[in-house]
């Protein structure tokens, strides 16, 4: 008993240096009309999609004149849209205390076929809101899982640089078994720690790979509060992203099904959920507590002048200045406890 109190005391002391975390702030700049509600769709989607729904993310929608976004087709391809002022909006978001700027361009004439995964993800109102999720995942460092055309494959696949959901491994001619393949390639697989000992990374006797990605099978979108643990676990699945490179370069992904990085209609799938959650935690995203009340996104009309104050159109739940120190303490303490237990669990499972 004495020992457990000792342990508890030590753990509580550790809690002393646990800093308070704050919600991340995403600011969506849009020129869409009030009738069109793509920004609301994006907010709702991010709020309900696992694992983003586990974190405190505050959204602010700022309406701006079309001319300020200055979006047009670019790069010589009619159906690609870029916004000339995206850096300016990133700067505005930074000055407003935002962590991430996003742009939704009111544009349906091209069927909403444009999206940019850079520092400032851009989608058009004609695009599925899920495209924003895809683009934001690029900013986190995840790569596409669809097959690139030869021209892009030439550029992209030349680096053969692995990313959290993609690695390039040239299989050896022969492996003596799964243990041999693991020994040879474990350092090349960024998600290796997610592959259970019971999941082989070879099939048959000598071939590398748990299997092929079945691109006809889409990972189901997950809007529940728990990860899709019943989905097929992480492994080493042969992809196709660089199959049109010269010569073709074998690419590998953690999941067995098509994910949102291949088709925006698909979900993340269990392996990507784990990866994204880890990334968000490492970036300092604060996990939600059960008692956290959801806050509606703030909507702001931005009149256009650079330094003029924004006019708040809708702010249903403004932040209240109340003394809830005790509540905050218990929230952060229990959050810390939950994180600690999860951390220990993860360490044990490894």
């Amino acid at each position: 008993m004495k020992t457990s109190f000792k342990t508890l005391s030590v753990l509580t002391l550790l809690g002393l240096i646990t800093p308070e975390a704050r919600a991340q702030k995403f600011i969506i700049y849009t020129d869409e009309s009030v009738v069109s509600k793509k920004s609301s769709e994006v907010v709702e989607l991010m709020k309900k999609t696992y694992p983003f729904n586990k974190f405190n993310i505050e959204f602010e929608v700022v309406r701006v004149p079309s001319a300020e976004l200055d979006c047009s087709s670019s790069l010589g391809i009619d159906r690609l849209v870029t916004c000339a002022n995206s850096e300016e909006f990133q700067s505005r978001a930074m000055r407003a205390g935002g962590d991430q700027a996003m742009i939704i361009k009111d544009m349906s004439k091209w069927g909403g076929s444009a999206a940019v995964g850079g520092g400032v993800p851009v989608i058009t109102t004609g695009t599925s809101a899920r495209a924003m999720l895809h683009e934001y995942m690029h900013t986190l460092g995840l790569c596409d899982e669809y097959e690139y055309k030869a021209g892009e494959a030439e550029f992209y696949c030349s680096t053969e640089k692995s990313s959290p959901n993609l690695t390039f491994i040239k299989p050896k001619d022969k492996y003596s078994g799964d243990a041999d393949a693991r020994m040879r390639h474990m350092m090349q697989i960024p998600w290796y720690k997610d592959i259970l000992p019971s999941t082989p990374i070879t099939s048959g006797e000598v071939a590398l790979g748990t299997g092929m990605v079945d691109f006809k099978k889409k990972a189901a979108p997950n809007s529940s509060d728990i990860g899709t643990i019943l989905d097929s676990p992480a492994g080493l699945f042969r992809g196709r992203v660089c199959d049109k490179a010269t010569p073709p370069i074998p690419s590998w992904h953690p999941g067995s099904a098509s994910t949102i990085m291949d088709d925006v209609d698909a979900g993340l799938g269990a392996p990507l959920e784990l990866i994204v959650e880890r990334m968000l935690v490492s970036k300092g995203f604060k996990k939600k507590m059960e008692i956290d009340e959801p806050r509606e996104p703030r909507e702001i009309n931005y009149p256009g002048e650079k330094e003029s104050a924004a006019q708040v159109v809708v702010d249903p739940k403004p932040a209240e200045e109340v003394n809830d120190t005790g509540r905050n303490f218990f929230k952060s303490f229990f959050q810390w406890l939950v994180d600690l237990i999860q951390g220990i669990g993860r360490a044990i499972s490894r």
């Binding site: 008993m1 990133q90 930074m94 069927g111 076929s113 683009e135 690139y148 970036k283």
Partner: protein, 156 residues
């Protein structure tokens, strides 16, 4: 005795975490929390990574994301006395993906164009003890050389 110790430490957590307690001050001294400094880190093809903008806000920021997963850069910050006061491991995707959808299958991508260069917002806490954050140095964590770039001044 241990029960007493536990109660004391438990209560000290309450005191430490309360917004008006000495704990907040200590956190600032430790460099965990401070004023919120937002920066924009920019990558361009064949150019050194650079902080193009920096903006200091009075609201408090506690950095829980100092060591990002898959970080590809370390940013080190120096004060006016040239003493290193903070560092942060961050990830910035060096590529921008311009993606269009297939008109025949509107959920599938087609006509992708990938270009080098990207930028992102980074936040760091600036506590009183750090002094004025005057310059920064960037080190790449990729490649064999893990290239360190020249120290540059920050324009607030």
């Amino acid at each position: 005795m241990f029960k007493t110790m536990y109660i004391i430490t438990f209560l000290s957590v309450v005191l430490f975490n309360s917004k008006t307690s000495f704990g907040q001050g200590l956190k600032k001294e430790l460099g965990i929390c401070g004023k919120s400094a937002s920066l924009i880190l920019k990558l361009e093809a064949e150019k050194d990574p650079v902080i193009t903008e920096a903006f200091l806000r009075d609201d408090e920021f506690c950095d829980n994301g100092r060591y990002e997963e898959n970080a590809n850069f370390i940013l080190s910050f120096y004060n006016a006395q040239d003493k290193i006061v903070y560092d942060k491991h961050i990830f910035l995707n060096p590529l921008t993906f311009h993606e269009g959808f297939d008109p025949k299958a509107p959920t599938k991508f087609k006509n992708t164009k990938i270009i080098e260069g990207n930028s992102r917002i980074i936040k760091i806490p600036v506590s009183k003890e750090m002094g004025e954050v005057a310059s920064y140095k960037i080190q790449s964590l990729e490649g064999k050389n893990k290239k360190a770039y020249d120290k540059k001044k920050i324009k607030w």
